[in-house]
Amino acid sequence: MILEDLCKGCRICVDLCPMKILKTSTRMTKKGVFPPEVVDPAKCTACKICQHYCPDFAIFIVGGPRLSRS
């Protein structure tokens, strides 16, 4: 789950995801930032690193592994 309106485009989640399934999108939000997008949801292990490291509470896991979605 990515809450775009809260994202500030810091890219910490993109960098720290151990499965490298997050990528900075090229689509700008109305806040003027480029949020992350999930490129390979099947690979998500729900480790919650993205969730726990996000400074803005803007990304979190819903459901278990392989069930997370944008």
Binding site: L3, C10, L16, V33, H52, Y53, P55, D56, F57
Partner: protein, 278 residues
């Protein structure tokens, strides 16, 4: 907002307080989430939690973001106010959010006395090694030689090791982690919250905008990686020389002992005073 799902920690966040006003990628947001996770996992009720905040970016971690009783006070003084809160109502869980300047410059006196008294207040000291909110002035924690807005020729002074300072003052729980070590940070916060007495948790926090920029790292991701590289555990640091440790951040739990807290001492006093003749 997309979707109906709420962040698992939503219940702790004040309505209308999101997004918070910290810079993009700021360590403060990560400390905020880590703290709320710790509160949630320990099971402290919102009604019992009181957050006392100093002045500086760290003060904005709880204020107005957390949906709990919040006391945002004058610069350097949160620990003094928190002492009054904890003595006034010992049932409250009182947590102070303070910065390195707030706690060790203007607030230094209150910090060492709270540690000495073992008042059951938990201090989360966000150390970004500079005065962030006011634009990047040198702080008592800034490494020697660094050029800041007020040390354009380089800082002349030696910095504090904040954890060492509190250990010297008698702190019964003293730990240090960086914003890279989120899992360890949450664990340390949980320990601080369940310990009986004074707790000092120093969190080295990345501030790319004011500190990182001065050392050529203006990206939050890069600065987190820098923390990762520069950190060394207490165990590994043992046996290393001062020179080898220069520029490194020694992280871990320095002190963890149980000792009667000040509220307990007052309870004993009340009993003893009852028996005294008028």
């Amino acid at each position: 907002m997309s979707g109906q799902e709420l962040h698992p920690l939503s219940k702790y966040i004040r309505k209308g307080a999101q997004p918070h006003t910290h810079c993009s990628g700021c360590g403060n947001g990560m400390i905020a989430q880590s703290f709320l996770r710790a509160v949630d996992e320990v099971g402290i009720s919102k009604e019992k939690l009181v957050c006392v905040a100093g002045i500086g970016c760290s003060g904005w971690i709880p204020s107005p973001f957390f949906d709990v009783d919040t006391l945002h006070v004058t610069h350097g003084r949160p620990i003094a106010f928190a002492t009054g809160v904890k003595l006034g109502n010992p049932n409250l869980e009182v947590v102070v959010f303070t910065g390195d300047g707030d706690a060790s410059a203007i607030g230094g006196n209150h910090l060492i006395h709270a540690a000495r008294r073992n008042i059951g207040v938990k201090v989360i000291c966000v150390n970004n090694m500079i005065y962030g909110m006011t634009g990047g002035e040198v702080a008592p924690t800034t490494p020697r030689g660094l050029k800041t807005t007020t040390t354009p020729f380089g800082n002349l002074e030696r910095p504090f090791d904040l954890s060492r300072l509190v250990i010297g003052a008698g702190g019964t729980y003293v730990a240090r982690w960086t914003t890279y070590h989120i899992a360890a940070l949450v664990a340390a916060m949980k320990k601080a919250l369940t310990r009986n007495g004074f707790a000092f948790l120093e969190v080295l926090s990345h501030c790319p905008v004011h500190y990182g920029r001065r050392i050529g790292i203006s990206d939050p991701v890069e600065m987190l990686r820098w923390f990762q590289k520069q950190s060394i555990t207490i165990e590994k640091a043992r046996g290393m020389s001062e020179q080898e440790l220069a520029g490194k951040f020694v992280v871990g739990e320095f002190v963890d002992i149980e000792a009667p807290n000040l509220n307990q001492m007052y309870e004993q006093l009340f009993e003893a005073a009852k028996r005294e003749p008028n």
